[in-house]
Each structure stands twice: as C-alpha cells, then as structure tokens.
Amino acid sequence: MSDETKIDLELDLKGLLCPLPMVKVSQNIGKVEVGGVIRAIATDPGAMADIPAWAKSTGNEVLQAEKVGGEFVFLVKRVK
C-alpha cells in the first residue's frame, strides 16, 4: 500500500514522546489538502494507539500503522 500511495508531506517524529507525535500530526494535517496523505515516522510505541485515536476523534483516517524495525510508520489521510 505504501508503495502506491502518494505522499504529500513527510513528518519526522523520531525521538518525540507522548503527547507530541499526536500533536505534531494534528499541527501538520492542515498543510495537506483534503484527501492528501502524511507519512509520519515515530519511535514512541504509544503512538501506535494514539495516532489512530486522534484520527478517530478528528474524523481523519489512518491508512497504515506499521512497525518497521524500531520505528512506527503511519500513513494519515486528511479527510476533512
């Protein structure tokens, strides 16, 4: 999926701890158009629960939340 999805913004969240991964995604989602996708890479395991929760609360969509080595890769689509 990640190979074919067009990425509009890359977000480096490595080293950031709660609540910052979620906060950074929320601060940056407005930088892509509706329908646009952010790829965010975090190292905080808590982000695996938090970013999907953020998306549910704000009405956006997590296309992918995947552990790759020691990192967590998210594809977040702006829905509104």
Binding site: C18, P19, V23, S57
Partner: protein
C-alpha cells in the same frame, strides 16, 4: 443524506496542584485534547496558580510576600509530589525526563497555549495568594470564578480535577 457535523467535544479541568508530576499530567492531557480537536478549559487555583506565573516576585502584605518567597518562581520550580528531597527530586526527574526526551513543563504549557487551550486563574485564589493577572504569562485569560468553571464543566464531555 448530508452528514451532520458532530458537536465539538470539550474538556474542563481544575488544576489545584502545583506538583511537577501532576502538572505534567494536566498539560499532557490538555495538549492531547486540544490536538484531538477538543475545546479545553484549564482553571488554575491555589497551588496550581504558579503553573501560569512568570518568574516574578509577588505579594503585598507580609504573608503575601512570605508566600511569594517560599512558593515563588515559575512552573520550573515545581517539585514532584514524592521524592522531593528539598529540590533534589526535581533535579533528578528533570535529568531522567531530559534523558528520555520528554518536553519541559514550561514547553508543554506554552504548547498548550499555542494549541488554543483556554487558561484561567481563579480570582479568589489570586486575591488570597496575592498573585495578580500581571504576574501571569501572556495567553492566560482574564480571571474567572467557580461559576464560570462550573458552566464550562456542565457542558464538557470530560471533567478533571488535578
């Protein structure tokens, strides 16, 4: 069928504690809630007032000035509720959190303001503790009373007391 826009959820929080650990909890929840699109109200009272204070001396009367000396400084003076050891605990936790790359309390608070968190001092505590609005950081709204907080709390989806 047109989709109805859901009502904005909200969080109302009393911050009575001035303890470092509890303030971390308060500001992490507040910033998280703001990021999740919630309207956030933080009502600072009693020991919590120092969390929104600048590093200035306060107090008019003898007791007020004593309090200003003994409970002076700003948010970075907050000691943990356990293992305080006369300031050693603050230093130790500061080191440990720094090693784990946790934000400083002041940074989290300033982030909360950037994210639009509404912060209010409790007028009555401000009077008692002799900490006027001028002693607070920019971004703190004009003081309010318990009635205002309760109105916010009535309408809120989450109410917290810290």
């Amino acid at each position: 069928m047109p989709e109805e826009e859901p009502r904005q959820k909200s969080l109302a929080m009393v911050v009575m504690s001035g303890d470092m650990d509890k303030l971390f909890g308060a500001f992490i929840i507040a910033t998280g809630a703001a990021a999740m699109g919630m309207e956030v109200t933080m009502f600072f009272t009693f020991w919590g007032l120092r969390a929104i204070k600048k590093n200035v001396s306060t107090g008019k009367t003898l007791f007020g000035r004593m309090l200003g000396l003994m409970y002076g400084g700003d948010i970075m003076k907050a000691n943990p509720s356990k293992f305080s050891f006369g300031g050693m605990g603050r230093w130790m936790f500061g080191k440990m959190m720094g090693n784990h790359n946790v934000s400083k309390l002041s940074e989290l608070r300033d982030l909360a303001i950037d994210l639009g968190v509404n912060m209010y001092g409790c007028q009555m505590s401000m009077d008692v503790m002799e900490m006027p609005q001028e002693s607070f950081i920019d971004g703190v709204k004009e003081p309010v009373g318990v009635g205002f907080f309760l109105l916010k709390a009535q309408d809120a989806d989450i109410q917290l007391f810290i």
